[in-house]
Amino acid sequence: MMRALAISGFLASLAFFAVLEWLARRDGSRIPTLGEMCAYVMRYEVGPVPVGRIGLFGFWWWLGWHFLAR
C-alpha cells in the first residue's frame, strides 16, 4: 500500500513535469519551458562568480553520479 503510494507520488510529479513542458511549448504560452527556467537561474551571479551556473552544473553532476555511478 505504502509502496504504491510512493510510486504514484513520483509518477505524478514526473507527469506534472511533462504536462507543464508540453503546455509551455504551445504558442503564446505564459509558462516558460524548463530550459528557459534553467537559463534564467544560470544568469544569477554574485559579483564575477556565476553562482547560478555553478550551482546548476553541480546539481546535475551530482544527479548523474548518484544514479549512474554510486
Binding site: A6, G64, L68, A69
Partner: protein, 135 residues
C-alpha cells in the same frame, strides 16, 4: 566587400550541430552503460564526462543561447512538480522503510541494472547536461 554586421549570421560550428553532437553523446552513453554501479570505472567516467562538460560550460568555448531576462507569469507553476517530488523524496528518505516505502533512487536502481536502460539514462543525463552548457 565587408557586410554590415546586422546582415551577417554566424554559421554554427560543425561540432555544435545535432548531426555531430547526438552521435557523440550516443557513443559516450553506450560506453557509460557498460559500467556497473559502484565500480571505479563508473565513478571515473561520471567524473570525467561531467567535469569536461562543466569546464566547457564555465569557459567561453561553447556559444550560448540568449537567456530570458524575465520569466512569464506562469513560471510559478514549476514549483508544483518540484514540491510534490521533494515531499515524496523527503518523506520516503526520512521514514527509511526500504522497499515498503521506497525513495526514488531505490525504485530506479533495479531499472538501471540493465545495460540498455542504463545507456538510455546516460544519454538523457549527458544530453540534458549539453543543453545546460549551451544555455
Amino acid at each position: 566587400m565587408e557586410q554590415p554586421r546586422e546582415l551577417t549570421v554566424e554559421a554554427p560550428r560543425a561540432w555544435d550541430r545535432p548531426t555531430f553532437s547526438i552521435p557523440v553523446l550516443a557513443c559516450l552513453s553506450l560506453v557509460g552503460g557498460r559500467f556497473a554501479s559502484f565500480s571505479t570505472e563508473a565513478n571515473l567516467y561520471v567524473l570525467g564526462t561531467g567535469g569536461l562538460l562543466i569546464w566547457l560550460g564555465l569557459s567561453n568555448r561553447v556559444p550560448r543561447r540568449p537567456a530570458p531576462t524575465r520569466l512569464g507569469s506562469g513560471a510559478a507553476w514549476w514549483v508544483l512538480p518540484i514540491v510534490v517530488f521533494g515531499v515524496f523524496e523527503g518523506v520516503t528518505f526520512v521514514v527509511a522503510a526500504g522497499d515498503d516505502f521506497p525513495t526514488f533512487s531505490r525504485l530506479a536502481d533495479p531499472l538501471l541494472e540493465g545495460q540498455l536502460i542504463r545507456s538510455v539514462a546516460w544519454f538523457a543525463w549527458l544530453g540534458a547536461f549539453w543543453e545546460l552548457v549551451r544555455r
